[in-house]
C-alpha cells in the first residue's frame, strides 16, 4: 500500500493498465512531455514512449474521433480532455459515434475507450472551468459515466473503465485531486495522506462499475451523492446531527439501483446532492427512480440540493456551490416532514 493523492492514483491506474496491455494508449492536450496540466500523466511518456503517450493538437473532436478510430481497430485509448468544460467539440463524436458503434454495426465495431476529464468547481474557475456535465453523458444510451470521490476508487475504477468494452466518461472532481473537500472553504485543506481512502495498492486491482459504496450507514435519511458532494454530505449530516446513510454512487451509469432502493426503503427519506445545475440534472433521474420504486416507503418528499440553474459564477462561487449549510437545511427539512 502507498499513500496517494487522487492525481497519483489516476496516474498509477494508467501506468498499471499500460504495463499490462500494450494496446492501452494515452493522449490529449499537454499530456505527453509535460504530463498534463494537472500532472495526471506525468512520466508515462518517458516510461512507455511517444507512441503510447503523446500530445495532441488542441482539437477535442480530433482527440475523441481518433480514439474512436483506434478503439474500433482494437486499441484501448484512454484520452484526456483538459477540462470537462472543453469536451463539447468532442461531444458529437461521443454521442453519434462512440455511443452507438456496436449497435449500429451489428457488433462488427466497438468503442472501448475512456475519456478522462476534470470536472466541477470550487477552484474559482468561473463559467468555463467549473462545469459538471455528467447528465449530458448519462442521458446518452451507450455511454457509461463514472465519477470517483477518492484515490482508492479513482484507481480501481479507472482500470476497470479502461478494461471495459464500452465507452466510459471518467469525470475527475478537480477539487478532490489533492484532498477531500467538504465545502468549508474557509478551513485548511486536508490532504489525502490523512484520509483512509488515500491508501492505495501500487499494483493492479479494480473497483467494478455499477457498484455504489455506503460511506456512512444510517437509519433516518438516505443521501445520494457522488464526487465532491460525498464530503459535503458527510459534513452536513454531522453538523445537522442527522443519522444519514450516505451512498456514494461512484458510477452514474450503470447505476446501482438496488443499493439506492434498499437504503431508501429502510430510511424512508431521501436527499440528493450534486453540484451540476438542477433542471434535468442527474438528481432528477435519481428522484424519479426513488419515486417509482420506493414511493410507499417515503415519509417525506425527496429533496434535491444542486448548483443553481445559472452558469457557474466566479466571485459568487460559494453562493453557488451546494455547501454543508444548504445540504444541512435540506436534511432538516426532510426530517421535519416526518
Amino acid at each position: 500500500m502507498a499513500r496517494m493523492t487522487m492525481i497519483q492514483a489516476i496516474r498509477s491506474a494508467m501506468d498499471v493498465a499500460m504495463a499490462r496491455d500494450d494496446n492501452v494508449v494515452v493522449f490529449g492536450e499537454d499530456v505527453g512531455f509535460f504530463g498534463g496540466v494537472f500532472r495526471c500523466t506525468q512520466g508515462l511518456q518517458e516510461k512507455y514512449g511517444k507512441h503510447r503517450c503523446f500530445d495532441t493538437p488542441i482539437n477535442e473532436s480530433g482527440i475523441v474521433g481518433a480514439a474512436v478510430g483506434m478503439a474500433a481497430y482494437g486499441k484501448r485509448p484512454c484520452v484526456e480532455i483538459q477540462f470537462a468544460d472543453y469536451m463539447y467539440p468532442g461531444y458529437d463524436q461521443l454521442v453519434q459515434d462512440a455511443a452507438r458503434m456496436r449497435y449500429r454495426s451489428g457488433g462488427q465495431f466497438e468503442s472501448p475507450l475512456v475519456v478522462r476529464m476534470p470536472t466541477g468547481g470550487g477552484i474559482f474557475g468561473g463559467v468555463n472551468h467549473s462545469q459538471s456535465p455528467e447528465a449530458l453523458f448519462a442521458h446518452v444510451a451507450g455511454l457509461k459515466t463514472v465519477i470517483p470521490s477518492n484515490p482508492y476508487d479513482a484507481k480501481g475504477l479507472l482500470i476497470a473503465s479502461i478494461e471495459d468494452e464500452d465507452p466510459v466518461m471518467f469525470l475527475e472532481p478537480k477539487r478532490l485531486y489533492n484532498g477531500p473537500f467538504d465545502g468549508h472553504h474557509d478551513r485548511p485543506v486536508t490532504p489525502w495522506s490523512k484520509h483512509a481512502l488515500g491508501e492505495v495498492p501500487e499494483d493492479y486491482y479494480t473497483v467494478p462499475l455499477g457498484k455504489a459504496a455506503i460511506r456512512r450507514e444510517g437509519a433516518e435519511v438516505t443521501m445520494l451523492v457522488y464526487g465532491t458532494m460525498v464530503y459535503v454530505a458527510e459534513a452536513a449530516a454531522e453538523e445537522a446531527g442527522v443519522d444519514a446513510e450516505i451512498i456514494d454512487l461512484r458510477t452514474l451509469l450503470p447505476l446501482d439501483m438496488e443499493a439506492i432502493e434498499k437504503s431508501v426503503q429502510k430510511t424512508g427519506r431521501c436527499v440528493i446532492v450534486h453540484e451540476a445545475t438542477r433542471t434535468c440534472g442527474y438528481g432528477a433521474e435519481l428522484a424519479a427512480i426513488v419515486a417509482e420504486n420506493c414511493f410507499y416507503h417515503l415519509e417525506s418528499p425527496v429533496v434535491r440540493v444542486t448548483g443553481w440553474d445559472t452558469p457557474y459564477p466566479h466571485a459568487h462561487e460559494w453562493d453557488y456551490f451546494p455547501g454543508p449549510a444548504r445540504v444541512g437545511a435540506a436534511l432538516k427539512k426532510v426530517m421535519e416532514k416526518a
Binding site: F34, I58, N128, A315
Partner: protein, 365 residues
C-alpha cells in the same frame, strides 16, 4: 507573388531601428510615441496584476509579455466601431483603444464595480464600447463568430469590419477551419489574425502547424490573401493591419495574418513553464522585444531619448499604481466587496423564469 507573403516574413524595423522596405507605413511621430506608451502601459498593467494575483487579491491572471506590439498596433490601425473577437491575451486592444485601466482592474478583482458583476474569471473581459467582444473560455469559438459579425455588417452595407484573433495552438480547433471556410466562401470584411507566440501551454507551435510550413499558409489553402508578419515589429504590425483593413473596407474581402512573436511569460498564473521549456528560451528569440525595438526606432529618429523613456516608464507606473489603488477601493476577489449574489441569477434569460425566481428565493439573496 501574393502567395509568397504567407511564407516570407514582413518586417519594417531593421537591426538599427530604421524603418525600411515597402511595408514602412506612414505614421506620425506622435502616433509612434503613443504606440510606445500603449505597450508600456500594457506591460505595467500586466506586472501589477500578476503581482496582485500572487498577493492573493485575485484568482488568476494572464499577461501578454513580449507580444504587446500586436494588439497595440492593430488597435491603432483600426477605427472605432470595428469589432475585435479576441482571445484572453489581447488586453493591448483595450488599453490602446482607451478603455480605462481601473475598469479592467475592477474585472480582475471581481469587485463591486466589475462590469461583469464577478461572473467571469479574471481577463475574460467584455467591452462592447471599446470594440472588444465577450471572451469565451473555450478556445476558437470566437473566430467563426467574427466572420458572422462581418457577414452581418456586409448585409447592412456598413463599412465596419471585424477581426478574429486566435493563438497558433488554438488554430487546431475545428472552429478555426469553419472561420476560414466561411471567410473564403462569403468574402466578408473580416481580418483573421493568428498570434503565433511559439507555445500553447507546454506544446510547441509545430504541433498545431503539422506539416505546413507556416500558419499563414492555412489562408492560402482557403484562397485567402495571407501575410506572415514580424509581430514584435510595431510598424510591421501597423502596416499589415492598415493594408488588410483598407482591403476589407474597399469590399475586397478577408485577409489572414500570422504574427510571429514569443510568449515570454508563463501561460497563466496557474502555469510554471520551467517544467517544459528551458529557462532562457525567450532570450534566444531572434525577433527581439517589441518595446525595445520601437524605442530604438524613436531614438534613431531623434524623437525620443533614454531619459524621456525612463520618465515615461516611471509616469506610467505611477498611473497604473494609482488606478490599482482606486480599483482596490471597490474591493478585491477574496476580501470583497462584490456585487450582490442576487446578480448571479440575472441575465441567464432576458426575463427570469419562475424556476429561477424560486431558486433565487431559496438562495436567500
Amino acid at each position: 507573388m501574393m502567395r509568397e507573403l504567407a511564407y516570407r516574413l514582413i518586417r519594417v524595423l531593421d537591426a538599427e531601428g530604421r524603418a525600411v522596405g515597402p511595408w514602412a507605413p506612414e505614421i506620425s511621430e506622435e502616433a509612434l510615441r503613443e504606440g510606445l506608451r500603449d505597450m508600456l502601459k500594457v506591460r505595467a498593467y500586466d506586472t501589477r496584476m500578476t503581482m496582485a494575483q500572487r498577493q492573493g487579491k485575485t484568482s488568476f491572471y494572464m499577461q501578454a509579455l513580449g507580444e504587446e506590439a500586436i494588439a497595440c498596433a492593430f488597435a491603432r490601425a483600426l477605427r472605432p466601431g470595428d469589432m475585435h473577437f479576441p482571445t484572453y491575451r489581447q488586453q493591448g486592444l483595450l488599453i490602446a483603444n482607451g478603455c480605462p485601466v481601473v475598469r479592467l482592474m475592477n474585472q480582475i478583482y471581481s469587485n463591486t464595480e466589475d462590469p461583469l458583476q464577478g461572473r467571469q474569471m479574471p481577463v475574460f473581459y467584455s467591452e462592447r464600447d471599446y470594440g472588444y467582444f465577450s471572451i469565451s473560455g473555450n478556445l476558437a469559438s470566437q473566430y467563426i463568430q467574427a466572420v458572422g459579425w462581418a457577414m452581418a455588417q456586409a448585409m447592412d452595407g456598413k463599412d465596419g469590419l471585424s477581426v478574429g484573433w486566435i493563438g497558433e495552438g488554438a488554430t487546431a480547433e475545428s472552429d478555426f477551419y469553419s472561420a476560414m471556410l466561411f471567410a473564403s466562401t462569403y468574402r466578408p470584411p473580416v481580418i483573421l489574425n493568428i498570434v503565433n507566440n511559439q507555445w500553447a501551454i507546454s506544446s510547441r507551435e509545430s504541433l498545431a502547424r503539422g506539416s505546413s510550413p507556416t500558419f499563414a499558409a492555412r489562408g492560402v489553402g482557403f484562397g485567402l490573401p495571407a501575410l506572415r508578419v514580424d509581430g514584435n515589429d510595431y510598424l510591421a504590425v501597423y502596416a499589415a493591419a492598415k493594408w488588410a483593413a483598407e482591403r476589407a473596407r474597399a469590399g475586397l474581402g478577408p485577409t489572414a495574418i500570422e504574427f510571429l512573436t514569443y510568449r515570454t511569460g508563463a501561460h497563466s498564473t496557474s502555469d510554471d513553464p520551467s517544467a517544459y521549456r528551458p529557462k532562457n528560451d525567450s532570450e534566444a528569440w531572434p525577433l527581439g522585444d517589441p518595446v525595445d525595438r520601437l524605442k530604438q526606432h524613436l531614438i534613431a529618429q531623434d524623437i525620443w531619448t533614454e531619459e524621456r523613456h525612463a520618465q515615461a516608464v516611471a509616469e506610467i507606473d505611477i498611473e497604473i499604481a494609482e488606478a490599482q489603488k482606486q480599483a482596490e477601493k471597490n474591493g478585491t476577489l477574496h476580501d470583497g466587496p462584490h456585487s450582490s449574489p442576487a446578480t448571479m441569477f440575472e441575465d441567464v434569460y432576458k426575463e427570469m423564469p419562475l424556476h429561477l425566481r424560486r431558486q433565487r428565493q431559496e438562495a436567500g439573496v
